[in-house]
């Protein structure tokens, strides 16, 4: 835990209304002295872990959660996927007065040692924040008896040991597609992805279906910067230039740091073509509107909010009901659309609201396609050339 996190804790001190009630052990740990109290926590946790180690599979007893950890493939300041998970877990930690450990930048090498290192610090739960960790984490949980959370792998769940987060990001992406379909004036909309991981693929198909529903005659330009180019801003910029040349006036961009390459391409394009309606950008995962320059062209963002899921799984761990599939969808606010300062037409707002209730009522079914081949196929069905 860094100094910065500590100061954030103080900032959020008053902001603990939500779950302060049933967490009476708050008395035990004081804000300023987390480090010292960790020793106490360690001793207690060792005691608590003892029965767990004997019978890991039957850990339906419930444990007092003192410390949780998150492991991420890239940097926690990558302006995207990794940062959102870490920031959300830290917020939940602050609200529940649970210590949060962050192990970042781990790539897709074997992360077992890091998991073991975390376990040796007696964390009660490890969030494995990458679909690429869906194999290694359940293996680790089975071997060590430490509960883990994986992404997009519902088959892996095990009572007391493995829980799964299903991000129904395609639902919010569908809304973004509806918004794009209503807002585009050129009728051409672009998607730029940095690689084809499941999360990007789900959103690509959801967006395309929303676009098709809102504007059947729209043209969709789908381009991938290339595998694993989350931070290759220069390549993302070059690709976005090309997408803009094809006439796209809205770009749905999925990339962590590389998203800024897309934003810069659009900014420049807008500056070069005064008098024309400006091209706008749809972001994913986080909220970049704090960045002034980005805010000027940010139409919306498909927001991921893990706080409810994290809060629930900690509660479940304490209640002994851990090991389920936690779904983040539109109705529970796990995914959502960001409201930005850009003006949108009232028809658009209505169409998005209608689509939202359609999804929530089940009248609209958004496809859930995670693999690259499936994406190609679905896009060809929707937008035959």
């Amino acid at each position: 835990m860094t100094v910065k996190d500590m100061s954030r804790i103080t900032r959020y001190e008053e902001d603990t209304h939500m779950l302060a009630g049933h967490h009476s052990r708050r008395d035990g740990i004081r804000y300023g002295c987390l480090v010292r109290s960790r020793l106490v926590a360690l001793a207690i946790a060792v005691l608590l872990m003892a029965p767990l180690a004997v019978a890991p599979a039957s850990a339906q007893e419930g444990v007092e959660v003192r410390s949780v950890a998150i492991v991420t493939p890239a940097s926690r300041t990558n302006q995207g996927w990794d940062q959102q998970g870490v920031d959300n877990l830290i917020r939940v930690g602050e609200e529940l007065d649970v210590d949060v450990e962050v192990a970042e930048n781990l790539g897709y090498d074997d992360i077992t040692p890091v998991l073991l290192d975390l376990a040796s610090d007696d964390v009660d739960l490890i969030v494995c924040h990458a679909s690429g960790y869906q194999t290694v984490c359940p293996e680790f949980a089975a071997a060590e008896g430490v509960p883990v959370v994986v992404i997009e792998n519902p088959e892996a769940i095990q009572p007391g040991l493995v829980a799964d987060i299903e991000t129904q990001a395609q639902e919010a992406a569908y809304l973004a597609g509806v918004m794009a379909g209503n807002e585009t004036t050129s009728g051409t909309v672009g998607i730029v992805v940095t690689g084809q991981p499941p999360t990007w693929n789900f959103m690509t198909v959801g967006f395309a279906e929303g676009l098709k529903a809102a504007r059947p005659d729209a043209r969709l330009v789908y381009t991938s910067v290339g595998e694993g180019t989350y931070d290759d801003a220069a390549a993302a910029r070059q690709v976005t230039d090309t997408v803009l040349a094809a006439g796209a006036d809205i770009v749905f961009g999925m990339g962590d740091g590389a998203a800024f390459g897309m934003i810069q391409a659009i900014r420049e394009h807008n500056q070069q073509s005064p008098g024309q309606p400006p091209v706008r950008f749809i972001d994913v995962i986080g909220d970049k509107s704090g960045n002034e320059e980005a805010a000027d062209l940010l139409l919306t963002s498909v927001l991921f909010d893990y706080t409810a899921a994290y809060t629930q799984m900690i509660a479940d761990l304490e209640a002994g009901t851990f090991g389920q599939v936690y779904t983040m969808d539109l109705s529970n606010g796990g995914v959502n659309l960001l409201e930005t300062k850009l003006a949108i037409r009232s028809e658009t707002t209505e169409a998005v609201a209608a689509a939202r209730s359609g999804i929530e009522s089940g009248a609209i079914q958004v496809s859930s396609v995670g693999d690259a081949k499936g994406v190609d196929q679905r896009l060809r069905e929707l937008f035959p050339t």
């Binding site: 290339g226 040349a245 740091g257 420049e268 970049k288």
Partner: protein
């Protein structure tokens, strides 16, 4: 769909993308001409890019940022030069060390300085000839809708050609790469010439990083060069170590890189992975085809050693 608009943008984008590559590769070419192979260009570009970014942000001036990059490059290049000449350290070893350290330090400092913030510079202005772009089909934007730095860099690199072939300094550099013993015998210090060449290579590598960050992108990210420093080594070789040909090779590489997205946007069913590997395969094929002309300086990679020079040179 307007295919000519797409082609025009692919070309214009490729020109811009090729500038940092061209600068770095020219630097590498000069170093190699003097017999020094520098695998540390990637690290130099990153360090210089980060400093250029910060200076440009803090002073609110792209020009001052662009000056800071070469300065960093000069320091790094001189250090590298000292290690591989005076200390006779292995060039490949120190080069890889420089890349590792430069990548690490720039990423580390970026995080220390900016945390989870991502400031952006303005890259949209500073195009003196943009109004001419519409008058020429397809290649108009590539030729005219460019930042002034693009023109300045091209002119600068092209001027380096005659410098290498016509001036005493240029001759010395080339002689040091081909026959260091002869240079030594003429009473000229081999290591001083090499140090000068690596310093120059550092300056150009630093400028490359600064141009990438300040002009092309308008922001820094950890690892933002994404391997450009290594491509530069290939391009220097393909360009047969002459600035003009290096510029052409950089441009061709930039176009090949833009071809993938261009094809995707135009609706060709090529996917994203195969087009991405095109430029790299292209380099290998080009090296094979041009093998008779891509001669490396005879003394490349070898520390000069007066005691054994006779038997080797």
């Amino acid at each position: 769909m307007d295919l000519s608009a797409i082609a025009a943008t692919v070309l214009a984008s490729a020109v811009l993308a090729s500038i940092p590559l061209m600068l770095a590769a020219t630097g590498e070419a000069i170093g190699e001409r003097a017999g020094v192979l520098n695998l540390g260009i990637e690290g130099t570009m990153l360090l210089a890019g980060l400093v250029a970014f910060r200076v440009a942000l803090d002073t609110d001036s792209i020009v001052i940022g662009l000056l800071a990059g070469p300065l960093v490059g000069l320091v790094v290049g001189t250090l590298f030069g000292l290690l591989v000449t005076l200390a006779r350290a292995d060039q490949v070893l120190v080069g890889i060390g420089l890349t590792l350290a430069g990548t690490g330090l720039s990423g580390f400092l970026f995080r220390e300085w900016y945390g989870d913030q991502q400031p952006l510079l303005d890259t949209g202005s500073g195009r003196p000839l943009a109004s001419l772009a519409d008058h020429v089909p397809v290649v108009g934007p590539a030729l005219f809708d460019q930042h002034w730095v693009v023109y300045a860099a091209m002119i600068g690199v092209l001027l380096l050609g005659p410098v290498l072939t016509r001036t005493r300094a240029g001759l010395l550099v080339r002689a040091t790469g081909e026959a260091p013993f002869a240079v030594d015998a003429a009473g000229i210090s081999v290591w001083r010439v090499r140090l000068g060449a690596t310093a120059m290579a550092g300056v150009l590598g630093g400028l490359a990083g600064a141009v990438l960050v300040v002009v092309e992108l308008g922001f820094f990210r950890p690892g933002v060069t994404a391997g450009a420093g290594f491509i530069a080594i290939a391009v220097a070789m393909l360009g047969q170590h002459t600035p003009l040909r290096v510029a052409v090779a950089s441009l061709v590489f930039g176009v090949l890189q833009g071809l993938g997205p261009g094809l995707q946007v135009a609706g060709a069913p090529v996917g994203s992975d195969f087009p991405r590997l095109l430029p790299y395969l292209g380099v290998v094929v080009a090296l094979l085809l041009a093998r008779h002309r891509v001669a490396l300086p005879a003394a490349l990679g070898r520390p000069y050693d007066r005691a054994t020079a006779r038997q080797d040179d």
